[in-house]
């Protein structure tokens, strides 16, 4: 099998899966019904992407692999999402901040992947792009509303950004797999995205009246399977059924 392509698909899918998981934790607990429904829509979009990516990954891997063995049977060290997306739902501002930063990156990444030489990746990116355009609008609007709402919401939004922003850097750290995929014309060039991403975000922060955090990037190695202490708990839920009752149909 093409190990690099397989790993690249995991990296793409794992980010959507873990972010989708975090959002799915909120279903039924949102600040009001309308917002609850909107957050669940985003979660559903992300899990839809996960399924497409993992179905393709299963094909690349071959044998008895399925979208579910890929999602639920890997160990923590084999899961390659970035640290940003596993950050907990501390409050609604953290949810918005995490989502906003990831959405801007995600959108630019997908724009690049639409031109991928790998037709399946290009097709998935094309479909996902429309969804993520909406996510970005949702999180961008809320970022603005919270930053410009009450004193409390302003403080909470700033605190959330202060927490999340230092994890942004990891998204642009180029691993060997990503370098190889870029060289083959399959993956995106993260260095191009990086400049644009920071420019958009910093600009948006200024308009919203948020301070661009000065905190240096946090050392993050999610792309290498080294996660935070929260990850084990995420996986204990995500993989609960498949670990407790392996090899069954559901």
């Amino acid at each position: 099998m093409d190990v690099s392509l397989y790993k690249y698909l995991l990296m793409l899918g794992d980010n959507s899966m873990i972010l989708g998981h975090r959002l799915s934790e909120l279903c039924g607990h949102g600040p009001n019904l309308e917002t609850d429904i909107a957050l669940t829509n985003i979660s559903l979009d992300l899990f839809g992407q996960v399924r497409s990516l993992f179905q393709y990954a299963a094909k690349v891997k071959g044998g008895s692999a399925t979208e579910d063995t890929i999602a639920f049977s890997r160990t923590e060290r084999e899961i390659l999402n970035v640290i940003l997306v596993e950050q907990p739902n501390e409050d609604f501002a953290h949810v918005v901040g995490r989502q906003y930063l990831y959405d801007i990156y995600h959108f630019l990444l997908l724009e690049a992947l639409v031109g991928s030489k790998d037709e399946t990746i290009a097709a998935i990116a094309n479909k996902s792009l429309k969804e993520v355009k909406y996510h970005k609008r949702f999180s961008g609007e809320w970022l603005k509303r919270l930053a410009g709402g009450t004193d409390e919401s302003q403080q909470r939004m700033q605190a959330a950004i202060d927490h999340m922003y230092p994890f942004l850097d990891e998204l642009f750290h180029v691993t060997e797999v990503e370098e190889e995929m870029r060289a083959q014309g399959v993956g995106a060039d993260l260095s191009v995205i990086k400049a644009e991403c920071y420019a958009i975000i910093d600009d948006h922060f200024r308009i919203a009246g948020l301070q661009v955090p000065e905190h240096p990037p946090r050392v993050s190695k999610g792309k290498y399977g080294i996660h935070t202490e929260k990850m084990g708990f995420i996986l204990s839920e995500l993989q609960f059924m498949q670990r407790s009752y392996p090899n069954m149909q559901w």
């Binding site: 799915s24 039924g28 949102g30 410009g148 919401s153 059924m241 069954m248």
Partner: protein
């Protein structure tokens, strides 16, 4: 026109099958009954998100994940449609929420039972949604226009919920012995609470007569319960699992299933707040309400400030 005449004219309209719209004259009791019933229905949708939501992060497959997420999300939508229908009668959603949180308003007791295994998600879809559909199909023809319209929309969307639940049960029953046992265990725990969903027996349900007269209800609790039993027992047989009622058997003369006595003491205990999860359910709603307060306020403050900006520009 005297109140009596108005009431007679109102009843004539209902008898003639006319729908009542929010601004039409209506007896105060009709208004109050509707606020109570519709908000109770809305609360049931919202509280009902919790037991199923309990399994969203633990679904066994990705396909089940999106199915369950979409279903629980639909329940939020249905709660929203129903709150809107009640709002046409002059009560705000916030007021209704407060009534739920302080315990003044009720919701369906079934949601005070815990979801302990994945099979419970199947059992809820099959039995609880099955019971709800019987009730809701009847309500699409209820006399109050906004309520009937909300129910039409809800019934259309709900059609996938029960199928989803039954498919989960079917997969379990066709799976390993361990899976089938899981399905039987869920049926054992959810059967009687589902039977109780139709409410007290007719002779102990004083509001039924008035509700039938106003076409809020078109069938009595016992009629609906019998309908549920007759539909559901063959479905259990198809699955190869057993309804936990030794007295359940087909009665050729009646053309219906006979069934055993319901434990009404348990029913009233749960209604009174002493069920396995009453406290946890309300606590979860209270937490979402409290945690969301600053968010709702911020959004209003932001919109207000934008409006002020526009106005000062115009001036």
């Amino acid at each position: 026109m005297s109140t009596q005449d108005l009431e007679q004219r109102f009843q004539d309209r209902i008898d003639a099958g006319e729908k009542i719209e929010p601004k039409d004259w209506m007896p105060e009791k009709y208004r109050k009954t509707h606020i109570r019933q519709i908000s109770q229905h809305a609360h049931s949708e919202i509280v009902g998100m919790l037991p199923e939501g309990n399994w969203i992060t633990r679904t066994p497959t990705l396909r089940r994940k999106v199915g369950l997420l979409a279903k629980v999300q639909d329940e939020a939508g249905h709660g929203l449609y129903l709150y809107s229908a009640a709002e046409t009668l002059g009560i705000s959603r916030d007021e209704m929420t407060e009534q739920l949180l302080c315990g003044k308003a009720k919701y369906s007791s079934i949601f005070n039972y815990p979801t302990l295994s994945w099979a419970d998600i199947g059992a809820i879809g099959w039995l609880v949604d099955g019971a709800a559909i019987i009730n809701q199909v009847m309500l699409t023809r209820t006399s109050f226009g906004p309520y009937a319209r909300a129910m039409v929309r809800i019934c259309k969307e709900e059609s996938f919920h029960q199928r989803q639940g039954y498919e989960i049960m079917l997969t379990l029953c066709r799976g390993t012995a361990e899976q089938k046992a899981m399905a039987q265990d869920a049926l054992n725990r959810y059967w009687w609470p589902a039977m109780m969903m139709f409410g007290p027996r007719d002779e102990e349900s004083p509001n039924t007569a008035q509700s039938v007269k106003w076409k809020i209800k078109r069938k009595t609790n016992d009629e609906l319960r019998q309908q549920f039993v007759d539909i559901t027992v063959p479905q259990a047989e198809f699955l190869g699992i057993t309804v936990p009622d030794p007295e359940m058997k087909w009665n050729e003369d009646r053309g219906h299933y006979d069934f055993g006595a319901i434990d009404w003491d348990e029913f009233w205990q749960v209604v009174k707040g002493n069920g396995p999860c009453n406290k946890e359910r309300i606590a979860a709603r209270q937490k979402a309400w409290d945690d969301g307060k600053w968010v709702r306020e911020a959004a209003m403050a932001y919109s207000q400030s934008q409006e002020n900006k526009t106005q000062s520009k115009i001036a």
